[in-house]
Amino acid sequence: MTYAQPIKTAFVETLITLGDDHLILGHRLSEWCGHAPMLEEDLSLPNMALDLLGQANNLYSYAAELEGEGRSEDDIAFLRNARQYRNLLLVERPNGDFAHTVLRQLYFAAAMQPFWQATLNCSDERLNGFAGKAVKELATHIRHCGEWVIRLGDGTDESAQRMRKAVEELHIYTDELFQPNAAMRICVEAGLIADPAAQRDIWNTTIATIFKDAFLQVPEIAFPQQGGREGLHTEALGHLLSELQYMQRTYPGMTW
């Protein structure tokens, strides 16, 4: 497909925005590799990370192609500064304990799964292909992480207390899941992607159902945290990028 301006620029930016969510969250999950609380989860978390990194790779490659300015997917992933990333604040949150990690993953997957499902009806064939893959992958993330949220919330005194703390700390970042930036709104108007804002009801239902079984309260959000979609990030992203980008910054263009 080819697109005329201003749709083209908005679509490239949107693909990079979505790619950033998947790259940064995938990187966060990959930090668990070798550190998970049990061997079984040591495989599950990197499995989910690989799903997300695969999506990021697809989205960046497509963005680079559409843009046609000679950038590669690696240039987009590794050679931008923090202010140029458009990922949600939620996905850059540090891993914290296992409760934080599975809750963050549930929050993200429960919003993105219906988003990709609805995007299957949009007009760009290439993006539909990515969506078809993501829908299945994220369904397993919701199941896996939802089961853990229930087990921890309905577990021991300590696990329940940690789960409540994770909700308290992460819930304020969830509003941004439903706040598309200007480029995304142009793509929604053009019928290229589903409207993230329209997925809120499905997300609410998924979370409420799981929280009920987990004996968790869905908190009111007094001061929602947002800014990632405009490139305004927390300190956490800089530290993450210094690790993520180290190799390409130190040895530009290196491959192995």
């Binding site: 609380p37 061997l39 989860e41």
Partner: protein, 95 residues
Amino acid sequence: MATHLTPLWEVFIRSRNGLNHKHVGSLHAADGDLALQSARDVYTRREEGNSIWVVRSEQILASDPDKAAETFEPAADKVYRHPSFYDIPDDVGHM
């Protein structure tokens, strides 16, 4: 993680429709749902199968290896139990 909270489960995978589930290994999990989840991540990452069974290891009863001789050896000299004394017509093909 304390193993009394995450007992051992045996995992069986069916590699293709029409084949049997085969034992592939074991894992620790708090309950059946999580055991199935983990089995998917541990044992089907390379497209090993399309169906998973899990069962608590303690639910499996095993024959006594000390009684292997009396259990299995009586079958050794009963070759007539193998269906190998029939002439199979060529048209039947592979059985």
